[in-house]
């Protein structure tokens, strides 16, 4: 169980390899990477700044990860979330879960990102191609996705 909140980028291969390394009980690992898109809600996006609530962020991510371990039989899990300035194509977040069986790995990974999306205190300010800065609004779809897991 690992949670990291950091400004710098992470190396996907290093992180995922470390997650399963040396644990031969693992039969499947599911991971999700969120990236900055160059378009959102119909506007071109030149970049964004991710603000967060230091202290509470780590606490919430740890709670979300612990909840995944309560719900599924996991051998390993990982949440890395970046903050600060990001450009299109940059990685924002990595969540991963490893289990003896693939269904648990998929469900836990999906759960991690769905809950993170509605419970971890991060806020995105997009720099639009128009020059404007726009605070991204929470999506109803994210609330619905999270409520699947209630």
């Amino acid at each position: 169980m690992t949670v990291r909140v950091q400004e710098e980028d992470f190396d996907l291969g290093t992180e995922l390899d470390a997650l399963t390394q040396g644990n031969t009980s693992i039969g499947g690992m599911c991971s999700f990477v969120g990236l900055v898109r160059d378009m959102n809600e119909g506007s071109g996006v030149g970049g964004m700044v991710l603000e967060h609530y230091p202290g509470m962020t780590e606490k919430m991510l740890e709670e979300i990860e612990a909840e995944a371990h309560r719900r599924w039989s996991l051998q390993a899990s990982l949440i890395i979330h970046r903050y600060g300035p990001l450009e299109p194509g940059d990685r924002i977040v990595l969540v991963a879960a490893a289990s003896p069986h693939r269904e648990a790995a998929f469900e836990a990974c999906h759960f991690l990102i769905d809950w993170l999306k509605t419970k971890a205190p991060f806020w995105k300010a997009e720099q639009l191609d128009s020059g404007e800065t726009r605070w991204v609004e929470a999506r109803d779809g994210d609330e619905q996705a999270a409520s699947k897991w209630r």
Binding site: G34, L50, E51, H52, Y53, G55, M56, K59, H81, I92, V93, I113, L116, K117, T118, K119, A120, P121, F122, W123, K124, A125, W135, V136, E137, A138, D142
Partner: protein, 83 residues
């Protein structure tokens, strides 16, 4: 009491963090909001759409009824948009 503001609440209020000493009648997060909006137009604007504002007390999600005390850390912010 330490109060934190994030994202557009921070921008509207003009600060991300302040140390305040509300009157003794302020015993819940909702009462704190009601008192804050009397402090200036930035606060009034920030809390205008109260339904859009999330509350955390000591880094745990709460609501308008959550009790607050002198040494608490109270945070106000919009719905989260990370991930």
């Amino acid at each position: 009491m330490k109060v934190l503001y994030f994202a557009w609440l921070r921008q509207k209020i003009g600060t991300g963090e302040e140390q305040i000493d509300p009157p003794d009648t302020v015993a819940t997060a909702g009462q704190l909001i009601d008192w804050l909006v009397t402090r200036g137009p930035g606060y009034a604007t920030a809390f205008k759409d109260a339904r859009a504002v999330k509350i955390a007390v000591n880094q745990t999600f709460g609501d308008r009824e959550t009790p607050i005390a002198a040494n608490d850390e109270v945070a106000f912010f919009p719905p989260v948009t990370g991930g």
